[in-house]
């Protein structure tokens, strides 16, 4: 008992040597993950092609579906859990997500702002004409 460790390697389903986790339950976890991922992928393709939905909301819907599918992959394939043996992995992941969000959202915001403040060529021409 003294040599049991509290931490779990990322991707490992269970670090507990005394808990027999049968292959069948592992198989079930992966299969559930696959089914959910297939459903979400099919939904993404349907949302992108249907004309039933409001066009403005489609990109947002696709983003939500992608986030959901990322969660499915993390939980069912990479076995990220909220358990105490997984804290280190989750903290590293959270930091990664923070940096990714900063890079993507920050770049998009700055570039959109630059585009807004850039004077269109035609307007620039008119200004020069006025002088």
């Amino acid at each position: 008992m003294t040599d049991t460790h509290y931490d779990r390697a990322p991707g490992d389903a269970s670090a507990l040597p005394d808990v027999e986790q049968g292959t069948s339950s592992g198989l079930l976890v992966y299969t559930i993950g696959l089914v959910l991922a297939v459903v979400l992928t099919a939904m993404s393709f349907w949302v992108a092609n249907t004309s039933l939905l409001w066009v403005g909301g489609v990109s947002l819907g696709l983003t939500v579906l992608a986030i959901a599918q990322m969660g499915i992959h993390l939980v069912f394939f990479l076995h990220v859990t909220t358990g105490p043996d997984n804290t280190n992995n989750v903290m590293a992941l959270a930091f990664g997500v923070l940096i990714v969000a900063l890079v993507v959202v920050g770049s998009l915001l700055i570039m959109a702002d630059l585009n807004d403040n850039m004077m269109p060529a035609a307007e620039l021409m008119n200004l020069q004409m006025q002088h």
Partner: protein, 211 residues
């Protein structure tokens, strides 16, 4: 019976030492965690490429746009290949855990074949695009597209080489602790590539066809 199991469970959890009392982590945990951090840094690199693509997506310079170039059918097949290979990679991890060599080789082979199918489809797509003059030098949009999707393709290629090497190691060295750790890292890498692909087909292919 149930109460006995519950009590037994409680004792087992209560007796487990906390992280600081348990002493240094096993090598498997340390290696896995290190590779996890590498993967996160790799994903941050992908985030930069995604940001560049999103900024340049409409900068077509009069050239073809995503709507004219992308074929949803081939993207759907590519997605299916990668998702299925992620699943068989998971089955391979299970087979390694229960030391079944034949199943390990078989699932490894299927993972490799599905990954190779994905790559073949992607290379064909690139070749078709370059053939009609929509190469990376055509517009900023296409430069960003080829960089982002090509970078993912390179990762898949590296993963295939890695998988082949690992299968050879399983054959020669058997499932030693070292080989098992390397296979753990490989499966992490393969699943992470699938997550990157989820964002790729959403942002590049599906959203590209919208506008």
């Amino acid at each position: 019976m149930n109460i006995a199991v519950a009590v037994d469970d409680e004792i087992r959890h209560g007796a487990r030492p906390s992280a600081s009392e348990a002493g240094p982590a096993t090598k498997r945990v340390v290696v896995g965690y290190g590779f996890w951090v590498f993967l996160l840094s790799d994903i941050i690199m992908f985030a930069a490429l995604f940001a560049a693509y999103a900024v340049l997506a409409h900068a077509t310079a009069g050239g073809p746009s995503g709507m004219q170039l992308f074929s949803q059918r081939s993207v759907a097949i590519e997605t299916g290949c990668l998702l299925a290979s992620s699943y068989t990679c998971g089955l391979m991890s299970l087979a390694i855990g229960s030391r079944r060599y034949a199943v390990t080789y078989f699932t490894g082979l299927i993972t490799f074949v599905l990954g190779a199918c994905f790559l073949a489809l992607e290379v064909r797509e690139f070749a078709d695009m370059i053939a009609i003059g929509a190469g990376p030098q055509r517009s900023a949009f296409l430069s960003a597209f080829f960089t982002l999707v090509g970078c993912h393709g390179l990762h898949v290629t590296a993963g295939l080489v890695w998988l082949a090497v690992m299968m050879a190691q399983v054959a020669i060295k058997g499932l030693s602790e070292t080989v098992e750790r390397r296979l753990l890292c490989f499966s992490l890498f393969w699943h992470a590539l699938d997550i990157v692909w989820v964002w790729l087909f959403t942002v590049v292919y599906l959203m590209g066809v919208l506008s």
